[in-house]
Each structure stands twice: as C-alpha cells, then as structure tokens.
C-alpha cells in the first residue's frame, strides 16, 4: 500500500502544479491579492507532497520492499543501510523523482520566503516554476514511474552497482541536483520578470541568493564528484572531460557568469538583458545535462541509464521550456529599458570580460560535448577527448584568470588604466617570483603547468589585495566571500598544475617481500591477504612505505569482489601527507605460492589535494557572500521599517 500512497502523492502534486500554473497566470494578470496568496499556498502544498512521495520512496528502499520493481532492480536486502538510503536516487527513476522534488521544494521555498518581489511578478515566477514541474511530473508518471510493482517479488533484489556503493557517490548527485534545480528558480525569476516587464536591481537582488545557493551546491557537487572519480576509479585522474562531467561543468560555467552579471545588475543596474539571457541559458544547461546523462545517447564511461524513449521525452521538455523561454526573451527583449552605462575600464567592464570569457569556455565545452553526437547522427564515429579541451580551454582560462585578478581591483563605473596598472604591480611581482622559482627548482615541466602555477601565484596574491588597507572588522562579509572564492580558484589551479607537473608514477609486478620506489617513497609488499566486508570479500595488499628516514606507514589497496551483482572493484589506498598524496592500487595477481606476483601501481602526486580544497574554498566563499548579503538586506529592511 505504501508504494501506491507515493504514487497518489505524486499525482496530487502534479494536479496542484497544474492549478498553480493556471492561478499563477490569473494572478499575474489581475494582481488580485487573494489569488497571489492562494498561489503561494498551493506552491507550498505541492512542495510538501512531492517531498512526501520522495520520502515514501526512501522508506521503500530502507524496508527493502522487493515487491517494488525499482527496489528489486537497484537494491539488495544485505546491503549496508547507507546504500539502501542512497539507492533511492542511485538510479534513473529515483533520480528523476529527486529532481522534481527539489524543483517543487524550491518553488515552495520561494513562496514561503520571497518578500521582495512585487506580488504579480512573484505569481508569474511561481507559475513558471509550476509549468516546469508539470512536465517532469508527466515524465515520471508516464515514462519512469518509480512505484511500479513486480509480481511475484524476488527474494533479494539485484543490488546496487558496487561502484555506486561509496559515500562520495551516494551524496554527490543530490548536491548536483540541488544546484541544477536551484538554477530553475533563477530561470523562473527571469521568466516572471520577462512576463511582467519588471527587470531591475530589485529583481536582481531577489534572484541573487538563489543563484548563489545553486552555485554553492554545483561547486560542491562537481568537487565531490571529481574526488570520487579520483579515488574510486583507481586510475589517478581527477577530471576526464567525460560528457557526464561536462554535463555538470556547463551549468556551472553559465551560473558563474550569471553570478557575476547579477551583481552588476543588483549594484549598478547594468547588463539587464544579458543577465536575463544568462539565467535562461544556465537552466538550459542544467536540463541539457540531465538529458545527456539520462537519455543514454552518450558513449560515456559513466552514463548510467540507457533508454531512448526517455531521452526523447526529456529532449521534448528541453525544447518546450528553453525554446519557449527564448521566444519570450526574443519577444520582450526590446521592451527592457537600457540600464546604467559604464566605462570600459571599470568593475563592470572587467565583469563583462569575465562573462564573455566564461561564455567562450562554455561554448568550447558545449562543442566538445555535443559535436560527437552530431557527427554520430551523420554516420561518423567520433570521440573528443582531453587534448581538445586542453588545447582550446587552457588559453581562455589563463586570460580569464587575468580578468579575475583585475576585476576586484577596479572601481565601479569608471577607473583609469594607470590606476589599474599600479594595483596590478603586486600580482605581477608575484608572477615574476613564481616564474623565477620555477626556473630554478623545476625547469623541465610543461608549458601549461608552468603557466598554471604562475597564474595561481599571481591570482592568490591579487585576490587578497582588496583587503589591503581596509578596516578588516568593518569589511562586509560578501567582500570576504569574494576574496575567499577567488583564493579558492588560485588554490585549485595550483593543485591542477602541480599534479600535471610533478606527478610520478610506477607500475610493477612484485612478489611478497620486494620493494618498489616512486618519487621519495620506498614501498615494500609485506603481504597479500584476504579480507571481508559487509557485502564484499577482497584481497588486500599490505604495503609498508618509507619516505627517506621517516617513520614507515602501512597502506592497504584492495581488490573487492561483490556477488550481487558479480563485480570486481579496485579500492585505491591513498595516504595524504601535507605536501601531496601517495596513491596505490593493487591489480591482478598471477602465479601462486611463493612465485605469486601482484601488479602494484603507485603515484606520488604533490599538492594534488589543493584541487578539491580549492573547490571547497570557492563554495565556502560563496556561502560567506550568501549569508552576508541576506543579513545585510535584512538589516536594511529593518532600517526602513
């Protein structure tokens, strides 16, 4: 009965979304206070019901209710509780339900908390949010119902793909979804503003917290996903330019541009049409990402769901929403009045440059991700890999870093080249220092890695300059947010460049008792032993590692065997030191007894942790900015009262 309850909740939520859309439209036209209040309440009820449906799905997974097809195909009664829980969204149907739930709950939050928008605009915004939710409800109940029953129920279920049985992967998809769907709010705001012809600083200030929040989740999701791929897949890489990764990077790039342009709109009333356009594009990229990942049209190393009919359904939704929004934009863009103007050399100018460069990067990732699909449609098998993205993306990124350095040093509206030049002396000095150090210490590293390290050093220094000569206690929190986020970019880039420049690798087949060396480490294979987990068995290497005369430590890479379904995974063992990570993998063994040899692969990766530490710094900076902005606005509202 519980499953049927979930389905019923879903249907009612869908019906409410339809009512919300209709009433929202009426309220936006008439401006009736009662209607606006009704729309708010319906949006909240819709959010609660969607959350209820998702809660019921989680309950079914926790109870291992094998009479539900989805549970039977994606769970197993002997699975650890955490993965039963995460199994609820570790599959196509569950993840789509999560998607619509987050969409509905985000709409409910807007209805609950949004007080700045005029009532009519709010009603239009909630109507747009409902229109989107409606499409996804239809998709779920007609094409991917998570509550389908199976008769007779199997005793145990097929289990969850062991690669998904990892805390990192259990939680990074929800983070990404919060980000994707958070951008839906920005999209709805833009649609609402277009419908009501109400674009200005107030609109931007209302939208900004949502963009910031979505951006925080996207950043965390991408960072966590990258770290997951790094330690779970056992090949030592942290970014693959895989289409599924690109699917999350594209909305992030668009949202990053949006975040900066919405600030221009909020503080200086500039870039009105452009900001609206970016809000539409950012969510279009979220939907495109969902389509790419969920349609199965990709030849990806990690596209999980394969079903063409679902693909066409999402593609149709994508076409309707994005096409519709772009048509609305095209029809209304002429009526948006010109905002304030500014000189080329100004904070606005730098932010425009930042936006253009981010758009260029987005274009490159877009082409690299979709071109193979177009080629395939024309009968040509093609795949685009890291060389393409590195060659096209790195030069743009380097220019973008220079813009990131200059932006915060410029005054709003109008500044002078000479002033900028004077302020840029500090980061320039940092760049020269890093260059000289690299020439002395590491002359042989690649050009890209060298440029990356120089850029990271200069950006790190430049990002701190805005705090120079300021009263640090009276500096607003959002300034700290910007400083921390930009510093995070520098830290991340330093990690990437360091990994590219200094990684050392060793691969060997060793007998017990033999020693392999990599970088400053000597690793002795002391033993290979069997070991057991809750739902897996494994062989585990005991490597005793010594760095110079330091204290030896033990590290245990494993090969795990799962029975439901039958799979082997390799669990890398990673030792994190202050200056980098030692990454070890045990591969296949051959022979037996004393002659047995095991493949051991070792990497020494100096400062590789900076990549993800930087990612979390960026998210933390955005959090500071979000809290700072919200508090500040609350205070100024109080001042009015």
């Amino acid at each position: 009965m519980i499953a049927e309850g979930g389905l019923a909740a879903l249907w009612i939520a869908a019906a409410l979304a339809l009512v919300q859309l209709t009433l929202g439209w009426g309220a936006a036209r008439s401006g009736s206070e009662e209607l606006i209040t009704a729309v708010r309440r319906i949006a909240i009820a819709q959010g609660v019901l969607a959350a209820l449906a998702f809660g019921i799905l989680i309950l079914l997974f926790l109870n291992s209710d094998m009479s539900v097809l989805l549970v039977a195909t994606n769970s197993h009664s002997a699975k650890p509780l955490l993965y039963k829980f995460a199994g609820a969204w570790g599959n196509h149907e569950g993840s789509m339900l999560l998607w619509v739930t987050v969409l509905a709950v985000a709409g409910a939050c807007v209805a609950l908390f949004e007080r700045r928008l005029p009532g009519k605009t709010l009603a239009a915004t909630l109507g747009a949010q409902a229109a989107m939710a409606l499409g996804f409800y239809a998709f779920i109940v007609f094409a991917s119902n998570p509550f389908l029953r199976i008769d007779p129920p199997p005793p145990d279920g097929q289990g969850l793909n062991p690669l998904l049985q990892d805390p990192g992967l259990a939680f990074h998809p929800p983070a990404l979804y919060f980000g994707y769907v958070g951008l839906s709010v920005a999209f709805s705001f833009a649609v609402g503003a277009l419908v009501m012809r109400d674009v200005g600083p107030a609109f931007a200030r209302a939208m900004r917290p949502w963009v910031l929040a979505a951006w925080i989740f996207l950043t965390i999701g991408i960072t966590a996903g990258s770290y997951w791929a790094y330690y779970e897949l056992g090949w030592g890489g942290w970014w693959f330019w895989d289409p599924v990764e690109n699917a999350s990077l594209m909305p992030w790039l668009a949202a990053t541009a949006l975040l900066h342009s919405v600030t221009v709109l909020a503080t200086r009333d500039g870039l009105r049409a452009w900001t609206l356009m970016l809000a539409l594009v950012a969510f279009a990229m979220s939907m495109l990402g969902t389509f790419l990942v969920r349609s199965g049209i990709l030849v990806s190393v990690h596209a999980f769901a394969v079903d063409p009919t679902r693909g066409s359904f999402i593609l149709a939704l994508l076409g309707i929403y994005i096409g519709g929004a772009l048509a609305l934009f095209g029809a209304r863009v002429g009526t948006i009045r010109q905002g304030s103007t500014f000189q080329l050399v100004s904070r606005e100018g730098a932010l425009v440059l930042n936006n253009l460069l981010l758009s260029v990067l987005l274009g490159i990732v877009f082409i690299g991700t979709l071109y193979p699909l177009v080629a395939q449609a024309m009968g040509q098998q093609l795949s685009i890999g890291p060389p393409f993205f590195n060659k096209a993306g790195i030069p743009v990124t380097l220019v973008l870093i220079v813009a990131t350095m200059a932006g915060p040093l410029l005054k709003w509206r109008k500044d002078k080249w000479s002033e900028l030049g004077r302020k840029m002396l500090v980061p320039a000095a940092a760049a020269i220092t890093v260059t000289v150090m690299l020439l002395v210490v590491a002359p042989g590293i690649s050009l890209n890695a060298t440029l990356g390290l120089i850029a990271a050093g200069a950006l790190a220094v430049a990002s701190l300059v805005p705090l120079w000569k300021r009263n640090l206690r009276r500096t607003p929190m959002h300034i700290y947010g910007m400083v921390v986020a930009h510093l995070g970019v520098a830290v991340s880039i330093a990690g990437m460049a360091s990994d590219a420049a200094f990684t050392q690798e060793r691969l060997a087949a060793v007998r017990v008792g033999e020693v392999v060396t990599v970088g400053p480490f000597e690793a002795k294979l002391a033993e290979v032993r069997p070991t057991l987990g809750q739902n897996w068995s494994a062989v585990e290497a005991v490597l005793i590692v010594r760095k110079g005369d330091g204290k030896p430590f033990e590290i245990n890479p494993q090969q795990r065997f799962f029975t439901d379904p039958v799979t082997t995974t390799s669990e890398a063992a990673i030792q994190t030191l202050w200056d980098g990570q030692l990454y070890t993998v045990i591969g296949a063994g051959e022979g037996s007894g004393k002659d047995a040899r095991w493949q051991i692969r070792l990497w020494w990766k100096p400062f590789v942790t900076f990549i993800w530490f930087g990612g979390f710094l960026i998210a933390f900076g955005a959090l500071l900015a979000l809290v700072g902005r919200v508090r500040r606005e609350r205070r100024s509202e109080e001042a009015y009262e």
Binding site: L69, A72, T73, I150, P154, Q158, N161, L163, L233, G234, V299, V301, H302, A303, F304, V306, Q338, T341, F342, Q343, L344, V352, L356, L357, S359, V360, G363, I364, I367, G368, Y371, P372, Q376, Q381, L382, S383, I384, G385, P387, F388, K391, A392, P395, V396, L507, A508, A509, Q559, P565, T567, T568, T569, S570, V585, G587, A588, E590, R597, Q599, R601
Partner: protein, 144 residues
C-alpha cells in the same frame, strides 16, 4: 561613450569572443578530435597512423595473454566483422574482462595492431560499445 555606442561595442566584443571561441574550438577539433574506430572500420582500409584514436569493441574470449613482466597484456578486440590485436601496459580496469566491451585509447601500428595507453571499461556492467548494441544478446535476470 553614449549608451548606443556602448551597446554596439559590447555586441561587437561578444561577436569577437564567439568568433574566437569557434576558431579555437575548430582548430583544436581538427587537430585533436580522436576518431572512434571499431576493428571492422579499419579492416582493408588505410590505418590512421600517428594519431591518438579510440578503438572500441568486445574483448574476444580466451584472447588475453599476460607478458612475462606481469604488467603488460595482449588481447584481441572484435566487433564481429574483424579483429584487432591490442597491447597494453598497465593495471586493467575492474570491468575489463573477456567477452565484455572495452574502449582502448592509443595508436594503430603499421602492422595493423594497436598499442593502448589507456583502457576504459564502462562502469555499468551492462555496457556495450554502441556499435555492438542489437548484435549481442542482452540479459536481464528480472525480465526472464
């Protein structure tokens, strides 16, 4: 600058950026797009020598041979039409096994063999390279 001129300047800058991006992307595409081959694609045709490409297909049952150094393997990739011998040095991915799909990244040699720098196997145990879909029997214990 008058607002009108500013709009124009920004529009031109945006156009220039888009043109630059397309130029960069296209030139990189020309040089770096790794073509995806299956053994049947290269049978009896000139090989794409000296280029990094991907070779996809099924690992032929019984074809994996380990070398004496313990870290090199040779195997045969097939798509049902033709076969390509592949050699690889490294730890094979977890899902790499005989009879299942794999994608090798590397270069063709003049003798028609393939040297892989990197091996990929799909995360999902039900993965098949797209060319193979429909040709192979798919099993799903719940549907049976």
């Amino acid at each position: 600058m008058k607002p009108k001129h500013q709009r124009l300047a920004l529009g031109l800058a945006a156009l220039a950026a888009i043109a630059g991006a397309s130029g960069l992307a296209l030139s990189a595409l020309k040089d770096e797009a790794a073509f995806f081959y299956s053994p049947g694609d290269v049978a009896g045709k000139p090989l794409p020598l000296g280029k990094n490409v991907r070779l996809g297909g099924m690992v032929e049952a019984g074809s994996i041979v380990r070398a004496a150094d313990g870290v090199s393997i040779r195997f045969i990739v097939t798509d049902g039409k033709a076969k390509t011998p592949v050699s690889f040095r490294g730890v094979t991915p977890d899902l790499f096994k005989e009879g299942s799909g794999a994608v090798a990244e590397g270069q063709f040699q003049a003798d028609g063999s393939f040297v892989a720098d990197n091996l990929l196997a799909k995360h999902d145990e039900r993965y098949m390279p797209p060319q193979m879909e429909g040709k192979m029997h798919k099993s799903d214990s719940l549907e049976q």
